[in-house]
């Protein structure tokens, strides 16, 4: 079976919301996949010590700090350079808070997937969970989509719904969304690496095994 090398991009390990354990759990779960390997995790912010300790035995951590670059292109050129040696076939943005330019997206054409903590097209951009609470929706969720040049606008691969309860805080809601995100990250990586995703215009369909 063909094995795809997957690079995980993150900005926020989740530690500021006490959810830091969930992301590595999701990655470790995905590492069981036969069709995927996870040689590298890339971040634009250095990881907290504990998080680094958890991840390091399993994959290399590459830190590319965007504040050290004058332009987006220079930042992205450095990311591309750092990834060269890993022969990456899929980039998964799991809480990566930098917008990627067409320059980067063309380099990994149709191979960049983002996980968004909202039920797109509702609540794109940052603070999706806060946006959902402020709007007063009763249902939110998360979305895995291919990345195009817009912000959270690309073709949708999978979604999951999460009910909003009257006593939910941002934290309790994020917790429920994170749990679903972990589940769909795993599923999407599996489907992509097994070559089962067909994109036609904005529609993504899943081929059966």
């Amino acid at each position: 079976m063909k094995i795809t090398n997957v690079a995980m991009f993150v900005s926020d390990s989740g530690c500021n919301t006490n959810l830091g354990h969930l992301l590595p759990v999701g990655v470790l779960a995905a590492m069981r996949l036969k069709s995927a390997k996870f040689p590298v995790m890339l971040t634009n912010k250095p990881f907290p010590y504990l998080f680094e300790k958890i991840i390091n035995p399993f994959m290399t951590i590459e830190v590319v700090d965007h504040t050290e670059f004058d332009t987006r292109e220079a930042f992205e050129a450095e990311i591309i350079r750092r990834l060269e040696k890993y022969d990456i076939g899929l980039v998964v943005l799991a809480g990566f808070h930098r917008i990627l330019s067409p320059y980067f997206l063309n380099h990994f054409k149709d191979k960049v997937i983002n996980i968004h903590p909202g039920l797109l097209p509702s609540f794109p951009g940052i603070n999706a969970t806060q946006q959902a609470l402020d709007y007063g929706v009763k249902i939110t969720g998360c979305t895995a989509h291919f990345v195009d040049e817009g912000v959270d606008t690309g073709p949708i691969i999978l979604q999951a719904t999460v009910p909003v309860k009257e006593n939910d805080s941002v934290h309790s809601l994020l917790r429920k969304i994170f749990r679903e995100e972990i589940r769909i990250i795993f599923k999407v990586i599996e489907l992509f690496c097994e070559g089962r995703l067909c994109v036609s215009g904005r529609k993504v369909t899943i081929k059966s095994n």
Binding site: L119, S122, Y135, G136, V137, K138, I139, Q159, E166
Partner: protein, 199 residues
């Protein structure tokens, strides 16, 4: 328990009106069904259940305000406490909405704020979402922007067409719309800013 007088506004076949009738909501008195179309089948359903009907044809009025003023005039005698928009295809202005502030509810065939306006099921299919649904909300001055009371999810399958999706959405509408009418008439909804909670 005192019953609340409810007006149901319709433009078409009135399947949601039928769902509300069939729910036999004890706290609701279905006082009148109002249509902007003289030939709406919903009127037949109302008459069959001996609910008074009013027809206010928007084409007979030069302005939205004149149309809405006539509706208000016709509703006067019913002492209406809740206006239910059940497939009513006219946008109501702030003139009308302010008369029934926080007493007008609308049903939208999508998970707002996604896909407001018309042809929501088609919008959802074209966008390629995997879930859509139904939203019941209080009406404010915007189009489908008011505080959300209840939402319900409808999954979209790869094989769904607009027709099959609409069927699923309508089934869900008929399930949740009467529930919201009931909650309102039992005084169990509270609005605080944009947040609607249920007692």
């Amino acid at each position: 328990m005192s019953k609340k007088n409810v007006a149901v506004f319709v433009s078409g076949s009135g399947t949601n009106l039928q769902a509300i009738i069939d729910a036999n909501i004890e706290a609701a008195n279905l006082s009148v069904v109002l249509s902007n179309k003289p030939d709406a089948y919903a009127l037949d359903r109302a008459l069959k259940h001996e609910i008074p009907v009013e027809v206010v044809d928007h084409k007979e009025f030069n302005s939205r305000e004149a149309f809405e003023a006539e509706i208000l005039e016709r509703l006067k005698k019913y002492n209406i406490e809740l206006v239910v928009l059940a497939g009513f295809m006219r946008i109501l202005t702030s003139f009308f909405v302010s008369h029934y502030k926080e007493r007008i509810i609308n049903l939208h065939p999508a998970l707002l704020p996604s896909f407001p306006g018309v042809q929501s099921a088609k919008q959802a299919l074209d966008y390629g979402v995997k879930f859509t649904g139904v939203t019941v909300h209080f009406v404010d001055d915007g189009v489908d922007t008011g505080p959300i009371i209840l939402q319900s999810v409808v999954p979209i399958d790869d094989t769904d067409t607009e027709d099959t999706l609409l069927k699923k959405i309508h089934d869900e509408e008929h399930r949740i719309f009467p529930r919201v009418v009931k909650l309102f008439c039992e005084d169990r909804l509270t609005i605080s800013g944009r947040i609607v909670s249920t007692k």
